[in-house]
């Protein structure tokens, strides 16, 4: 690769003209990636919406089988992790290394709580034989207009969408781990913190996906109208 000259800042990759160009490219690149992600989730949201309108009673009944309390707690936990992520970015901007490491670890901890609760929810679905394809034999009395295949369809989407979301969180975990190590070693400074900011964008995006998933799956099942 090209030789680094004396004026070349340490963190500047050789093919960029200056730090501003490098940072702008990183942030813009993440936004473009998030657009891709929106289309990725968008297809499955569209499919969910179509099947929900086709099989409304089954989807509403399925929604009422989810644990709204755990869902609410998880929503709060995840929004909390977005806050700690913002605080981590702020700590990076102001050059507070220990605060940066602390908030990154806190963000990861909240993410772990979320995944823990999610796993517990999955476990209870397994217990109640509500896992499509593997163990699906609902014991509940089905209201009129609700068939087993249609209910299974709802749970297909429930598992597919939440698992895809959880997968994104696990990837976020990997990113955070790297960031924590880099932060601990003092790699970031008020002049160079773009990786923190870019990863923050990703984390917020994953949160926002949940903000849409939660009402779609848990809340709009007619639970509060009867």
């Amino acid at each position: 690769m090209s030789e680094v000259t004396s004026q070349h800042p340490h963190n500047l990759q050789h093919h960029f003209a200056d730090m501003e160009q490098q940072n702008d490219s990183g942030i813009f690149g993440m936004w473009v990636f998030l657009v891709t992600e929106i289309m990725f989730f968008g297809a499955i949201f569209a499919a969910y919406a179509i099947y929900r309108s086709m099989y409304l009673p089954a989807f509403e009944f399925g929604s009422r089988l989810l644990d709204v309390k755990l869902g609410t707690v998880n929503t709060a936990v995840l929004i909390g992790s977005s806050l700690t992520m913002v605080l981590a970015v702020h700590a990076a901007q102001t050059g507070k290394r220990k605060a940066l490491v602390f908030f990154l670890l806190l963000t990861m901890a909240l993410g772990a709580v979320f995944l823990g609760i999610k796993s517990y929810e999955y476990y209870t679905k397994w217990e109640h034989s509500l896992v499509p394809g593997l163990r699906f034999a609902p014991t509940e009395a089905l209201p009129s207009g609700v068939t087993v295949p249609n209910l299974e369809m709802f749970f297909c989407f429930y598992f597919f969408m939440t698992a895809l979301h959880a997968l994104h969180m696990i990837i976020g975990f990997g990113i955070m781990t790297v960031l924590v190590i880099m932060s601990w070693r003092g790699r970031f400074s008020p002049e160079y913190y773009a990786p923190i900011e870019v990863s923050g964008l990703y984390w917020h995006f994953v949160d926002i996906i949940w903000i849409f998933l939660f009402p779609l799956l848990y809340l709009i099942g007619g639970r509060y109208t009867t």
Binding site: S2, H8, M39
Partner: protein, 554 residues
């Protein structure tokens, strides 16, 4: 920046190809030019795999009863041909090879914005190709490249999951390439290179990238759903279990129609460059051509339903999709008219790239106009599922994209390798491809109009003459594609030294050495004029002058 000023004096014979040696220096490279060559080699292999499948099909169809393979094998052949050619050759062809090589050069940058992600995209492509090749070797797939449900998700007994995974994985390679191009074009243009000074190839790459980024994730998730359904036997697209197979088609074509423009828009970009260079004129209506690329990218997302006129979509949706599909003809026609107007009173020379580009214009026009038959509801009912469709999209994809790809490879080959290829052979191959192509696919228009369905291993005896013509054309085409493979490889060692700008063309890529150095430019170029300033360029050297120029260096 002052990086260039302090660089040590450079040996003029050092370039990106010989800067370092060994497998590691290629497999771990982040140089966009080397990655372009990695892609070039990979997609060439895939092209000949897909081509072999096509050759076997055409041989089989010489007689009405089929001469060569079992019907089930025939199904696998056309599936392999489709999957390999669409996902592993056509979609990466111009963007990942020429785009990778040229985007940084054309904007005066040292590399793409994310060189490591660029390398990653090639590895993802290779993994995806590996899954697909596994699917072929482990018994093949027979769903057609469209993976229509519920056949693919429930009934097919072939390697659907491996092939689907291959398509899913390679999708990320094209997403990452598109992302890289968008960021690079936005953020890394050289000083003075405003949007409306950019070569039209970059506009085409930009529009293509937008489609890649917006469309590819949709098919990715859809393919995962099919695999999920197949593995767990749930009913997402299976009507027996309440699933909607039409929804699969909607999601599939939401990507796969725009994907047609992923394939053809880059070709349009190449043709704009070649037409300007070989008629020594600025492209007529530059901004119209630039905007028509974006218009095609936008409209391409609104027309997918024209693939579903006869598959159970509502008739009113069909009506609207028909109207919207006609709209695509407008920006496409703008391009064709503007290229033609560029030729008017131009000082035209007919070297190989120009022959391919002219071939593109004619064949693309035919492919486009026959598309209007298929966008009309009533005629589509008659023509859908026949060889008319096959002929139509091969006129766009082979007559259009592959011709443009060949034009681009021949136009920039001296830049890529620093060597000229034998122009006589190149022109001969171009003409042979043109003849072979038309002989292969024109009879298919007639066959389709007469009602011969596609994807059948046998056909009634009265269609034999046209089928034999088509197979004869395919043999010519097959041989014609091998000729460039031979002389291009030959030229890498024995071709004449090209010099930085053998065509006296405009554009930043011609202002640096051939082959370029690893950093592309000795110092960051500054752009002060519009693209295609051919008024101030010396004329195109004659073929004789090109052949006699430079040392043979054998």
């Amino acid at each position: 920046m002052s990086t260039a000023a302090v660089a040590p004096p450079r040996d003029s014979r050092v370039n990106y190809l010989n800067a370092n040696y060994g497998f590691r220096s290629w497999l771990l490279t982040t140089d966009h030019k080397r990655i372009a060559l990695l892609y070039l080699m990979s997609i060439t292999v895939m092209f000949f795999i897909g081509g072999a499948a096509a050759t076997l099909m055409r041989l089989h169809l010489i007689t009405p009863g089929g001469t060569l393979v079992q019907p089930a094998t025939y199904n696998k052949l056309f599936t392999v041909h489709g999957i390999v050619m669409v996902f592993f050759f056509m979609i990466p062809s111009i963007p990942a090879v020429l785009g990778n090589f040229l985007v940084p050069l054309m904007i005066g940058a040292k590399d793409l914005a994310f060189p490591k992600i660029n390398l990653l995209s090639w590895y993802i492509y290779i993994v995806g190709a590996g899954f697909t090749l596994y699917a072929i070797l482990a018994g093949g797939v027979d769903t057609g490249w469209t993976f229509y449900t519920p056949y693919s998700s429930t009934y097919a007994n072939t390697q659907v999951i491996a092939a689907a995974l291959g398509v899913f994985i390679t999708g990320f390679s094209s997403i990452l390439t598109g992302l890289n191009f968008i960021v690079t074009i936005h953020k890394m243009r050289a000083p003075g290179l405003t949007w409306f000074r950019m070569p039209l190839f970059l506009w085409a790459m930009y529009a293509t990238s937008v489609i890649m980024v917006l469309g590819t994730p949709v098919i990715a998730i859809t393919i995962v759903l099919v695999a999920f359904e197949r593995l767990l036997h749930v009913g997402i697209f299976d009507p027996k279990l309440g699933g909607d197979p039409i929804l699969f088609q909607h999601l599939f074509w939401f990507y796969s129609h725009p994907a047609v423009y992923i394939m053809v828009l880059p070709g349009m970009g190449v043709v704009s460059e070649v037409i300007a260079a070989f008629s020594r004129k600025r492209i007529f209506g530059y901004s119209m051509v630039a905007f028509s690329s974006l218009a095609i990218a936008v409209i391409s997302f609104l027309v997918w339903g024209h693939h579903m006129f006869v598959t159970g979509q509502s008739i009113y949706a069909g009506l609207i999709f028909s109207v919207l599909s006609f709209l695509v003809a407008i920006p496409s026609a703008i391009k064709v008219f503007n290229w033609t107007a560029t030729l008017y009173k131009g000082s035209i020379s007919y070297q190989a790239p120009m022959l391919y580009a002219l071939g593109f214009i004619g064949l693309f026009t035919m492919g486009g106009l026959t598309g209007l038959f298929l966008a009309s509801l009533a005629t589509d009912v008659h023509l859908n599922g026949t060889y008319f469709i096959v002929a139509h999209f091969h006129y766009i994809m082979v007559g259009g994209t592959v011709m443009a790809y060949m034009a681009g490879i021949h136009f920039w080959w001296p830049k890529i390798t620093g060597r000229l290829y034998p122009d006589g052979w190149a022109r001969f191959a171009a003409l042979l491809i043109f003849v072979g192509f038309n002989l292969t696919f024109f009879p298919q228009f007639m066959l389709g109009y007469l009602g011969m369905p596609r994807r059948y291993a046998t056909y009634p005896a009265e269609f034999q003459v046209l089928n034999v013509m088509s197979s004869a054309g395919a043999s010519i085409l097959g041989i014609a594609y091998l000729i460039p493979l031979v002389y291009l490889i030959w030229s890498m060692r024995y071709g004449k030294i090209a010099g930085p700008n053998p065509w006296n063309a405009t554009g930043l890529e011609w202002k640096t050495a051939s082959p370029p150095i690893t950093e592309n430019f000795e110092e960051t170029p500054v752009v002060t004029e519009e693209a295609y300033d051919y008024v101030h360029m010396p004329p195109m050297p004659s073929s004789a002058a090109l052949a006699g120029e430079g040392d043979a260096n054998v």
